[in-house]
């Protein structure tokens, strides 16, 4: 156990050290805190984006999801996320930078200027991201509990305190530096483990054939109605272009072209990691441990039974890296939503830049501690849990952002209507017992789009009446 502890402690000390180092640069300036001075290089940004998207869900969750719901269902969800990046790169990265806005809320409030938009968007962001953070904390908690033997609640508390510490003091610069380190660690551990599994058991094709002979459902499209597969795909494909912690990465790049290259390089790395996990580690886990109670523990089970302490220590560090690299960005986005979007005017009028940044620190702590408390009672299947929360964000923001960026006729009535209709329809169907999991988005997005178009027609009618008068 000593080697595992030493590796994890070394990793955590490294993260805090980076946070402290970055804090010297960022506390004096808002631009440095939120977007790392807009001067992050292309490859560094790519690794940071990959690490930001690759959450605990992408190591613990993806394998648990594939183990429980089958590989095709899992790939539908993660392929949606990957497809979302080219969409973000083409539809959002360049035009959003051209508009020169700081956050998604800034852009929407500029395009659809109304207090409802200014306040509703950050509230939705904070709610969705708090759920997302809870799922990450579960991933950290079960990993530390399973592989280091620390009680779940203590594991969640310790990891939460450490990552809030370095986010709150280091801002986007600390996040970017740590993300690069964390992204590299995740790739090495997951792809390295996949290679070792292949060396022992054979090619991914051979492993899949063995696993499907024993558990045919692993490769079948049979676990859920097709609407659920499509819903998983659409939620993430539509979420990535509007999800604030990814969009903030667009602003840290030196230019729009660099941002687009970063997004695509990040997705190639991310895809390789996900595919390595689901085509090697999951099938082998299904063969050797077919009856796990908590599917999210499959990676940890394989690690504990089949790998030496050094690899286990690296695995704990990698999962913590995945959790922290996403949660730090989520915390920063929540902090931004509250201090910049909700309290922006008050902060600018009454607080100096330095005092404003101390307020960000306090908000990051508040959000993190609330999520930590909620994570003490963890949800089953984290990937499904946080995907549902991201669905709410997608239902609210996708149509207004896309129409706002690309459709000149999109107006205030349409913007507000599409946002409200998206949220209401999504929540209604998400909690309806007759809807398959994650399929509410298939109704919410068209409803939101209809509301946007209807708003445009309404205003055209008003314009016609005004011209008649």
């Amino acid at each position: 156990m000593t080697i595992e502890y030493l590796l994890v402690i070394a990793y955590l000390v490294g993260c805090i050290g980076i946070g402290l180092l970055a804090s010297r640069k960022v506390l004096a300036s808002r631009d440095e805190y939120w977007v790392a001075g807009r001067r992050i290089g292309t490859m560094m940004n790519a690794m940071a984006i990959m690490a930001t998207l690759a959450s605990g869900g992408s190591i613990i969750g993806v394998m648990g999801y594939a183990y429980s719901k089958g590989i095709p269902y899992t790939l539908a969800l993660f392929a949606g996320a990957v497809l979302g990046f080219p969409l973000a790169s083409i539809l959002v990265a360049k035009p959003l930078r051209n508009f020169g806005k700081f956050t998604i809320t800034d852009f929407l409030a500029y395009r659809f200027p109304h207090p409802l938009v200014r306040y509703l968007v950050p509230v939705i962001i904070v709610v969705s991201f708090t759920v997302y953070i809870i799922a990450q904390m579960k991933a950290a908690g079960i990993t530390v509990e399973f592989l280091l033997g620390i009680e779940y609640k203590w594991a969640v508390t310790i990891s939460t305190v450490i990552f809030i510490l370095y986010v709150s003091i280091g801002g986007m610069l600390a996040i970017t530096w740590t993300d690069v380190m964390q992204g590299a660690l995740m790739l090495i551990v997951v792809i390295g483990t996949a290679f070792i599994v292949m060396f022992r058991e054979g090619s991914p094709i051979a492993i899949m054939e063995m696993a499907s002979a024993q558990a045919p459902a692993l490769g079948q499209v049979a676990h859920q109605p097709l609407a659920s597969y499509l819903g998983s795909f659409v939620i993430w494909a539509a979420a990535i272009p509007v999800i604030p912690h990814i969009v903030m990465r667009v602003f840290t790049a030196k230019n729009a072209h660099g941002a687009r290259i970063s997004l695509n390089v990040a997705m190639i790395l991310y895809s390789l990691m996900i595919l390595a996990a689901v085509f090697t580690i999951v099938p082998v886990g299904k063969i050797h441990y077919p009856d796990l109670q908590d599917a999210d523990k499959i990676f940890l089970q394989v690690m504990q039974q089949e790998f030496p302490p050094v690899v286990r220590g690296l695995a704990v560090a990698a999962v913590l890296a995945a959790v922290m690299s996403t949660t730090d960005a989520l915390l920063l986005a929540c902090s931004s939503a509250i201090s910049h979007d909700l309290l922006g005017k008050y902060v600018q009028k009454n607080l100096s830049e330095k005092a404003g940044n101390y307020l960000n620190i306090a908000i990051a702590w508040a959000v993190g501690l609330v999520a930590m408390y909620l994570a003490y009672s963890p949800p089953p299947l984290i990937t499904q849990f946080y995907s549902a929360a991201i669905g709410l964000l997608t239902a609210a923001l996708f149509v207004p952002v896309m129409a706002g960026l690309w459709w000149k006729k999109a107006n205030l009535i349409g913007g507000m209507a599409s946002m409200i209709v998206g949220v209401v329809v999504y929540l209604f169907f998400q909690f309806s017992p007759w809807m398959p999991p994650l399929s509410a988005i298939l109704i919410a997005l068209p409803a939101s789009a209809l509301a946007m178009v209807n708003g445009d027609w309404k205003s055209l009618g008003e314009t016609d009446r005004a011209s008649d008068d």
């Binding site: 497809l83 790169s89 097709l226 459709w407």
Partner: protein
Amino acid sequence: MSNFFPMPRGDRWYLIVIILFSFISFLPWTQQVHIAGMALFGWLMAALMILSPTIALIRLIRHRVANRGEKK
């Protein structure tokens, strides 16, 4: 013009192709055909994960090289 920014023709075609690919992947027959123990649907999703960012990246790099050539 009803939009703020013109979308380059290459971007438009790229979007059409990957959306079409996604649409075909979700047709019912891809769920019935199995290859190496997994439904074709799963393989198509895996292919989409690699192909969509790779093609986008190649296009961006070619665009940058072409731009540099024009500047010279």
